[in-house]
Structure formats: C-alpha cells, structure tokens
C-alpha cells in the first residue's frame, strides 16, 4: 500500500520508513519537492516607491492621535470636575433656582430672568450629556475640539465666579448662552468628522 497524498505532504516516521523501500513513493516525494522548490523560488515583488513616506506619516499620525487621546481624557476629567463644582455652587448658593421655588416678592422681570436661566441650565445640562457621549466615542474633530475646549473652560470658570460673587442674572444668562453656543459648535464639528486617509 502506497502513501496517500496527505501522508506525502506531512511525512511521519512510518511514512519515512516506507519511502526508504518504495521507489514509486520516492518518485512522488521528488515531484512534491520539485513543486515546493518552485513555490519557494518565486521572485520578490518590489514594494511601492513611496512606501517609507507612507509608513513614517502613518506612524506620526498614530503617535499624534495617541497624544490627543491623552489630552482628551485629561480634559474629560477636568470637564466633569468643572461641571460638578458648578453644580455644587448652584446647590449651595442659589437654592431658590435649584428647587424652582421662586421668591414671591420677585418682580415679573426678575421672574422671567430666573425662568430663562433655569431653562438655559437645563439645556446646557442636556448638551453636556450629548458632548460627553461624543467624547466617549472619540467622534470629535481634533482641531476644532482643542480650540473650543479652551474657550469652554474659560466660560466654565467665569460661570463659577459669577455664582460665587452673586452677579446679576443678565451676566449669568450671557455666560450660560455662551456656554451653550460653544457646546453646540463642538457637537456640530462631531457631526462632520474630518476623514484622514494616509
């Protein structure tokens, strides 16, 4: 009984001892080795000319992306911290707005301002949640994001100060509106991500 094709492809010790005495199987092994030699002798294919440029650019891009991700995670942390501290300020220094218990002695104008402020805070809160989701997904445009995050942190600090110093509603409304616009711009840039192809 001669060796099967499978046995010829992967010789074990039994197959080797069979081959030693079988001329027909020796011939088959020689044919198989000839095939293998042809496959191993296939010539090299030259790599594309600009290969190193592509590789070095792709490497640089990945390194920059990694650095940007580190910055984003740092900013994400500081953003959460700012929002948390802002909430604490609102809770302790402005209980009437927090609970919606508006002072009855307020004038209609003050009442309208308070309601506007409350609505702005709620909208900002919703937008902040959307932004956090986009941050988790890394769907934000890097260049826009870096610029806007700096502006946003400035507004957040100004808002904190506005509540600590008990500034008037007008200033607070302006700051909340400014904050809302910045987050909207950030989210807008997330909707049109820049595709980088190297």
């Amino acid at each position: 009984m001669h060796l099967s094709d499978e046995q010829l492809i992967e010789l074990d010790s039994n197959a080797r001892s069979h081959i030693a005495d079988c001329h027909q199987c020796q011939q088959k092994i020689a044919n198989l080795e000839n095939l293998r030699q042809r496959l191993r002798a296939l010539p090299e294919v030259p790599a594309p000319e600009n290969g190193w440029l592509r590789v070095s650019q792709a490497y640089q891009f990945q390194v920059e992306q990694q650095q940007a991700r580190k910055q984003v995670s740092f900013w994400r942390f500081s953003s959460f911290a700012l929002v948390a501290s802002l909430s604490l300020v609102l809770f302790f220094l402005w209980p009437s707005e927090k609970a919606g218990q508006l002072d009855q002695s307020m004038s209609e104008n003050q009442l309208a301002h308070s309601q506007k402020l409350k609505s702005l805070i709620e909208q900002n809160d919703l937008l902040q949640q959307q932004l956090n989701r986009q941050l988790m997904l890394n769907h934000l445009d890097e260049a826009n994001f870096k610029r806007l995050q700096v502006e946003l942190s400035v507004v957040d600090k100004a808002l904190q100060q506005a509540y600590i110093q008990r500034l008037g509603s007008d200033e607070k409304v302006q700051l909340w509106q400014q904050r809302q616009r910045l987050i909207e711009q950030l989210l807008e840039s997330a909707k049109r991500p820049e595709i980088v192809k190297i």
Binding site: R40, W52, S56, Y59
Partner: protein, 191 residues
C-alpha cells in the same frame, strides 16, 4: 558567495538598538532592508496590491510602536515576518474572504494521486496560477509550503481546526494540478 535576499538578510544589532531608542533613520534602514520581502509575502497571500500596501504600512507601524518588546532572542526578520503574516491574515479574515471548510470534508476528499508526476513543469508563470486559487487556499499553501508553518499554527492563525488547514492545502494542490493539466491540454492542442 551568495547574496542574501528577503527575510534572510541580517541587520546589524546596533540598528535594532537605535530603532528601539526611536531613531527614525534606523527605522528607515529596517524598512529599506525588508520592504520588498514584506510586500511580497503580503501580496502573494492576499493577491491585492492595495491590501498588500496597507498590510505593509500597518505592519511597519506596529514594528515601530512595539520594537521595545523585541527581546532579541530570535531573528529580527522572523519577528517582522510574523507580524506581516498576522496582519495579512487578519485583513483577509476581516474582509470575510475566508472560505470555511467543514470538519467532515477532510474525509470526503480522497487521495487523487496529486504527485504522480511533476505537473508544474508546464507552468511558466506560477504567480498567475496562484492568483486563480481561492484566497484561503493560496494563504494556506504559501504558509505551509513556503513559510514553514505547521497545520496547527495555520489553524491558530485562522481560528479554525487543523483539519481546515489540511483540507485547504490538499485542495490548493488539487486546484494547481487541475490548472496545470488544462494548460498542458491547450499547449498540446496548439502543437
């Protein structure tokens, strides 16, 4: 004296050490030494120039990012080749270009006396024959017969059983033989 080519080429140890320190010139030297070998392996397996270029780019970027993990206990070229092959197979797998072979098919594929003659002698352009194999058959054939991978290693690469590798290799040879016989018939008809 024979000139070494492809992955047989050796790099001076200091080049790898310089690359570990982030020296881009050293990385470029590594690239220029092995670019053709890497590209050839990737292209022969996937048979797509764009995919082979992407594989090569991604493989070298991985080498640059992970070179610190290369301890030097094996050949650098072997480590690099392993990365290229893994990257190629992963691309093929993610493109769903793997032909799945059932476990019981090995039993069905009876011996066809594939090696009774040196039928490949008729083939002038082996690459054109290889191009006509399925991606899986070509990959297994080259990995087993050229790169020296065992069936177990191929099975692990593809996330399949050893039977998958054995039957695929068998089929690759059967398909090559069929192609060679057809070419022989055409050549005979022209005479």
């Amino acid at each position: 004296m024979t000139t070494k080519i492809g992955f047989q080429q050796e790099l001076p140890e200091e080049v790898v050490e310089q690359a570990k320190r982030g020296d881009m010139k050293a990385f470029e030297q590594i690239y220029r030494t092995y670019a053709n070998a890497c590209y050839s392996v990737a292209l022969r397996i996937c048979d797509q120039t764009t995919m082979a270029q992407d594989v090569m780019q991604e493989s070298f970027v991985k080498v640059m990012r992970r070179i610190e993990s290369f301890r030097g206990d094996g050949r650098f070229a072997s480590w690099l080749k392993q990365i290229v092959i893994h990257e190629t197979i992963n691309r093929i797998r993610s493109n769903n270009r793997i032909h799945l072979v059932g476990e019981d098919e090995l039993l069905k594929s009876e011996s066809k006396d594939l090696f009774n003659q040196s039928w490949l002698d008729v083939c002038r352009d082996l690459d054109s024959f290889l191009s006509r194999l399925s991606t899986t058959a070509r990959a297994v054939l080259l990995l087993h017969e050229v790169e020296g991978y065992s069936h177990r290693e191929i099975a692990n690469l593809f996330g399949k059983s050893e039977s998958f590798s054995k039957i695929t290799l068998f089929r690759a040879y059967a398909a090559l033989k069929q192609l060679a016989e057809k070419q022989q018939e055409r050549q005979n008809a022209l005479k």
